[in-house]
Amino acid sequence: MSEARVNWSSRSVGAPWQHRFFYALIRFSDRYIAYPFLYPLVSYYLLLRPDQRRKTRYYLDRRFPGQAGPAAWLSSFRMIIGLARSLVDRARVGIRGPGVLAAEFPEHRELARLAAEEKGIIILTSHVGCWQAAMSWLAALKRPVHMLMRRDEGDIDRLYFEHSGEISPYRIIDPTAYLGGVLELVAALRRGEIVCLMGDRVFGKRENSLTVDFLGAPVAFPLAAWTLAAATGAPVAVLFPVKTGPDGYRIELARVIRVPARARRPFAKLRPYLERYVRALEELCRREPYQFFNFYDMWADTGSVARDPETRTREQGWEHAGNKPAGTAEEDNH
């Protein structure tokens, strides 16, 4: 079976001492010195690390086609500084407590209503804003939260609760564990609990993805959340934590997507539901272009490997027997 794998890393840029320096600044003065210090730091990466600047252009060149010269440099700067602030915010919550940020969540009652259905909720996150700090809202649902999260060896970015030495308020499930942790995810949803997965990054085999056009070109998006939704009946809640000010976030419940059981197989039947998420992500990128923190070429990783697993034959190692037209969009609910 083809074993093409993804080509990205969660490892943080920056030396450990740089991280410790910022943690010390935050302990001493919250964001008031840490934020200003970001400007020379980001300028360094922008001016003297062309590899890092190049990483911003994968997305920005598609979001702002034809952008060049000073405008391109400025947009790269804005994207990097946005990420840097979100990382500082994550540390602020861990070091100084969740009260440092004011996160409004206008649709929190809708999320509570979904939880009350007792089918579990699949929270679909993306590389948008400071999602880890925003997740503190989930505590209000008074249900265990399980996060499928990969951390590269050498990843020195601390999760916010690690700063205070607290036990994780969430159960972190390692996607490299047995069967990708899916057994725990299914069991959690069956108990009516919350699971959080990233919707915009493929981890593992490329075959377990579908290609959908995103900002004008095909990108492979992972299928795990959609397969879980079809198999368990849990709704998918697309959340975007959007930074609104130095201390403010707005949690947007962009979509609630339900996947009928009959969309389970073949995987191509999941496309209309995945597309609804991708359209929501595009809307977010158009509205808040500097809050989508994607620094790898998600368009290049598509290639010829991410095909729709329409049919499977054992002789072909369960590789696809050819593409077929995608299914029609349906507003089906359980």
Binding site: L179, V186, R190, L223, T227, R265, R312, R314, G317
Partner: protein, 90 residues
């Protein structure tokens, strides 16, 4: 007429529900690994559905990776797991 064995039932369910076209139950060996590069070659997305199917058709829950490792090693181990859980429940 002999009752269909649990292994045979599982093979039919796996083939039909996981969309394994052009495969006959006779091609799945009872002792063959279900997951991974050798054997049947199922993967994590198949596991999502297999867990749900085992509960749907046999009323048995596979709760975590420890139980999964025990149950999913092969058709034989899965059948044994189901039988044990059903016996314990009655």
């Amino acid at each position: 007429m002999p009752e269909t064995s649990l292994q045979e039932q599982l093979k039919k369910i796996i083939i039909e529900e996981l969309n394994l076209e052009d495969m006959d139950p006779s091609e799945i060996a009872d002792e063959e690994p279900l997951f991974g590069g050798e054997g049947l070659g199922l993967d994590s997305l198949d596991a999502v559905e297999l867990v749900v199917l085992v509960q749907k058709f046999f009323g048995v829950e596979i709760r975590d990776m420890e139980e999964g490792r025990e149950a999913f090693a092969s058709l034989d181990t899965l059948a044994r797991f189901i039988e044990q859980r059903r016996s314990a429940a009655t």
